[in-house]
């Protein structure tokens, strides 16, 4: 009987440990993968560590995360400790009110704190960036320090501080020589808590930061579109650092017991020096960042540019580029509407149409852009911006069906979009989790315009999608579709042509189809905001991006189809030879470009799409 019990106890412990540590081990394991897949191990390599070291954005983010965490920890620990000590000496009513107030930020959903801080910084006109992020981190770390220090202080004899002062200590000496040593476990626990809270914070940092200042969480979040094992490598390093810190923290008391005085002194020196080094580093970095250079703020979709181009541009023009990324056009619009200022944006066609309508943009002076001659005919003068008065095309492509040649019968391809409703492939396909693209598919399958505002046609499309959902059991996937298709997890997926090119280059069994019924022909283009303060630099940037060399390295890195003739020709013959998705289908008269939607129509689509997804 007893034996049985202990078996279950052990089993339980093993299950718990496995649950906690398996994800971490898997993450670490795939950081050594030689290929890009996160789920299929192809061999050992240090490739991703190498890329990590060379990735300027990540190393900057590591620096931001670490320096913010260290400074927020130091400052919030000092603030919290002083507050906790003060609280024990306050009157009971004050104490109780303050302790409850202190618990509020801890219990509050983080998003509320985040939005509150963002609004606060906006309303007092503070420039978002490093300082706002630091202030926010101090603000949310301090309550944790108070919570862990306060009980320690309360357990002390209230006469201890008096005793120290009685013996000649000033209040500050009494604090340092008597109170702090007695509550140091509490302070230490609080500091550790503050550090971890700060180091891995995403929600609050995301809302209060800006002007290109990103911590690790924000960078990783932006990377998820083209997730690759660099993240695993970064995670592995972070885990190793944390393990080292934990080991050191646990060893210090053991070592300190052996030679008390020396160790303590040495430790104080080390901690002091480390803090000073970080502070100096931050100041130098901040100083370097604003060295009186011209600053150009660029806002682009995530994983949508070869970042080495930015450095090259900075060097050539002796300026600084602040580069930020967004998840979707709508998110970009929200930030713009909230009063955030940028110089150059790279949104999609329908969004450009909207921005023009709402007067967010200024004319492009094509005289300043000699590289215009490099642009292909096919990408110019489109419906969203006739005559290209506001926009310079950046990448373009289509939406289509990615399919596994070894699974899908070529005969079935003739059905076009109806392939997505072929019961043979039930449970074996991904839809793209996007309201516009899904309705586009249904509209095109039914032979309507994808920009239709006819509610009857929309209703039909809705029924098409409902039927498809019920018969095919599709998965509405986001960017995880890329890794899943590379790994060959399912036979069919709706993807963007650029992603398709990239996926096909990693998995040769796949091919790409744009149905004859027509599809979304889309263009992303560079625009200059009305509020742009660096118009010369903005024009220079656009000109730089459509130079033959830049366009080539950009498409090589990102995989989307360039708007520059020479780059397109070279890739078509080279890396992407035979990859159908790389060459957008411009011949099909059924292809359309998304147009601006009236709010009423947009609302209607959104409601229906919610119903499709609600099962």
């Amino acid at each position: 009987m007893k034996k049985k019990k202990s078996f279950f106890a052990r089993f339980y412990v093993v299950i718990c440990l496995a649950f906690f540590y398996l994800p971490i081990l898997v993450t670490m394991f795939f950081s050594f993968n030689s290929s890009k897949s996160l789920t299929r191990f192809t061999g050992f390599s240090l490739r991703w560590y190498n890329e990590l070291l060379q990735n300027v954005e990540i190393s900057k983010a590591v620096y931001v995360s670490l320096s913010i965490a260290v400074m927020a920890t130091v400052i919030s620990t000092v603030l919290g400790t002083i507050t906790a000590i003060g609280l024990t000496r306050s009157r009971k009513i004050v104490k109780e009110i303050l302790l409850n107030v202190n618990n509020m930020p801890i219990l509050n959903p983080e998003i509320v704190t985040a939005i509150g801080l963002m609004l606060l910084f906006s309303s007092i006109g503070m420039r978002k960036g490093y300082v706002t992020m630091l202030l926010a981190h101090i603000a949310f770390c301090t309550p944790y320090v108070i919570t862990s220090v306060y009980p320690k202080v309360r357990s002390l004899d209230p006469n201890l501080a008096n005793a120290a002062m009685d013996l000649g200590a000033t209040p500050f000496q009494a604090l340092i020589k008597v109170i702090v040593p007695l509550i140091k476990e509490g302070i230490f626990a609080g500091a550790l808590l503050a550090f971890t809270m700060s180091f891995d914070d995403f929600v609050i940092s995301y809302f209060v930061s800006g002007n290109g200042v990103k911590n690790i969480s924000i960078v990783v979040y932006n990377m998820t579109k083209r997730i690759n094992p660099t993240i695993n490598a970064l995670s592995t390093i972070v885990i190793v650092v944390i393990i080292i810190v934990l080991v050191v923290v646990n060893l210090i008391p053991l070592l300190a017991r052996k030679n008390t005085v020396n160790m303590n002194h040495r430790l104080h020196h080390v901690i002091g020096l480390a803090a000073a080094a970080v502070l100096i580093g931050v100041m130098i970095w901040l100083g370097a960042a604003t060295n009186g250079k011209h600053v150009l703020k660029v806002y682009n979709a995530g994983e949508y540019m070869d970042l080495s181009l930015l450095e090259q541009f900075e060097e050539e023009n002796d300026c600084q580029v602040v580069y930020e990324t967004f998840e979707s056009n709508e998110m970009m619009y929200t930030k713009l509407a909230a009063g955030e200022t940028y110089d150059v944006l790279i949104p999609s066609d329908y969004m450009i149409e909207r921005l023009i309508k709402e007067e967010y943009l200024q004319y492009i002076d094509w005289n300043l852009i000699p590289n215009k001659k490099n642009l292909m005919e096919d990408v110019q003068n489109k419906s969203y911006d006739p005559g290209n008065r506001y926009s310079c095309p950046y990448f373009w492509g289509t939406v289509g069906i990615l399919y596994d040649k070894t699974v899908v019968d070529p005969e079935d391809l003739k059905d076009g979009w109806e392939l997505l409703r072929n019961p043979k492939y039930k449970g074996n396909l991904y839809m793209y989790d996007s309201e516009r693209d899904s309705f586009m598919i249904a509209m095109k399958a039914l032979g309507y315009s994808m920009n239709s505002t006819n509610f009857d046609e929309i209703e039909e499309a809705y029924q098409w999608l409902i039927e498809q959902r019920d018969t095919m059991d599709p998965i509405y996937a986001g960017d995880d579709v890329i890794d899943n298709m590379i790994s060959g997890n399912k036979a069919i997926a709706v993807v963007y042509s650029g992603d398709a090119s990239y996926i096909i280059s990693e998995n040769e069994n796949l091919d790409y189809l744009t149905p004859d019924q027509g599809t979304n022909l889309w263009y992303d283009a560079m625009v200059i905001t009305r509020d742009c303060s660096e118009t010369d630099l903005a024009h220079a940037f656009i000109d730089f991006m459509i130079s033959e060399e830049s366009a080539l390295s950009n498409t090589e890195e990102v995989g989307y189809t360039p708007t520059v003739e020479s780059a397109f020709e070279e890739m078509k013959e080279g890396d992407y030879a035979g990859v159908s998705s790389y060459i957008p289908d411009t011949e099909n008269p059924n292809n359309e470009i998304f147009g601006y939607q009236e709010p009423k129509v947009k609302q209607h689509y959104a409601e229906l799409w919610t119903k499709v997804k609600a099962q």
Binding site: D157, N159, L160, N162, A163, A164, M165, D166, L167, G168, A169, T170, P171, Q173, K177, V178, P181, L182
Partner: protein, 348 residues
């Protein structure tokens, strides 16, 4: 006459809307062992904390050698304190606790070691230098606390109920030891206690306090023998307190009896109170005394019996080595020196 060291002038102290000191006037002399005695809440500890500098008086002055110091922070005063629960620093060993004040003053290490050694010897803790203070007994902690204060060579040592946490036997030892230490170092001790026996046995001067006011200042014998009012009489030892009239100088009357006494200076027929100490009353045969009654209880107290005698008017408590059985008719005799006449409470 010795020199005045500390003068308290019209000290008052309010906490929120509660008045805890109502005008304290007190002179404290050099080399004096002065005790502030009173029940809890009487203001004795507050007075001590004002002298130490932990509290500021709401009004009034504190003079130290003639200089006003009530706004001076504690670390600038030549005064040290032994706290109620010792307030030793738990993260420091015995030696470092004692050396705390000297270290702050950046005294030379060898001088510190020498002084700490001398202090440990004085309080009888030689060889305890490296001990952990949290592992010491109450009595030992007490000694460390005294050494920690005295090593700074203050002009005044304040002791806030320092023996309160010790058991009875150690307490007795510490009392005589404290007295010895005070004579040895020759400085002023200001001692706070609610234990009247402690106050009487150790002090040069006892200050009896109640309700934020000083009731009486005097030597232990004065306080015991000539309590100025019912409160002092009741608080110091056990007493029979009887309401009566002062007929004229040296003649007092209660319950219809007239007695000669040694008190004078009261108005004629003034209503007064008489204190009769139980040990001053003698049990005699009924025909030899004015006051007669019946024994209603006898309790053996070790050295003496405590006998309650019920008369027509009241019950008297008598402490005597003679035995008298319950139910016996007895007389109570007393001489003029045994009668202590006091002003009635609130009459002045």
């Amino acid at each position: 006459m010795k020199n005045k060291l500390i003068e308290l002038k019209d000290l008052t102290k309010n906490f929120d809307d509660q008045q805890v000191l109502r005008g304290i006037n007190l002179d404290i002399y050099e080399n004096e062992f002065l005790t502030l005695l009173g029940p809890s809440g009487c203001g004795k500890t507050t007075t001590l904390r004002i002298i130490a500098g932990f509290e500021e008086p709401s009004s009034g002055e504190v003079l130290f050698n003639g200089i006003e110091i009530s706004k001076l922070p504690p670390y600038k005063r030549e005064i040290n304190t032994v706290f109620q629960k010792y307030a030793l620093f738990p993260h420091l060993n015995v030696e470092d606790n004692i050396a705390f004040g000297l270290n702050l003053k950046k005294v030379d290490k060898s001088v510190i070691a020498q002084k700490v050694g001398r202090m440990l010897k004085m309080v009888g803790l030689e060889g305890f230098e490296k001990r952990d203070v949290t592992l010491l007994s109450g009595g030992q902690q007490q000694r460390v606390a005294i050494a920690r204060a005295l090593v700074n060579e203050p002009k005044v040592l304040l002791l806030d109920e320092p023996l309160g946490a010790l058991d009875a036997k150690i307490r007795k030892n510490m009392q005589s030891e404290l007295k010895k230490i005070q004579r040895e170092v020759g400085i002023t001790f200001i001692y706070v206690t609610h234990d009247q026996e402690e106050a009487l046995s150790m002090s040069d001067t006892v200050v009896v306090m109640n309700n934020g006011e000083i009731q009486q200042i005097g030597s232990p014998t004065d306080i015991y023998n000539e309590p100025e009012n019912r409160f002092v009489a009741g608080f110091i030892g056990e007493s029979n307190i009887i309401e009566g009239h002062m007929l004229q100088d040296f003649l007092v009357e209660w319950d219809g009896f007239r007695f000669e006494c040694v008190d004078k200076g009261f108005p004629e027929n003034e209503e007064i109170e008489v204190v009769l100490r139980p040990e001053d009353l003698d049990i005699v045969s009924p025909d030899k005394a004015q006051i007669t009654g019946k024994v209603i209880s006898v309790t053996f107290k070790g050295v003496h019996y405590e006998i309650l005698v019920e008369t027509e008017y009241r019950t008297y408590m008598v402490h005597t080595t003679d035995y008298a059985e319950v139910g016996r008719k007895v007389g109570l005799s007393l001489g003029p020196e045994d009668i202590h006449v006091m002003w009635k409470m609130g009459a002045y």
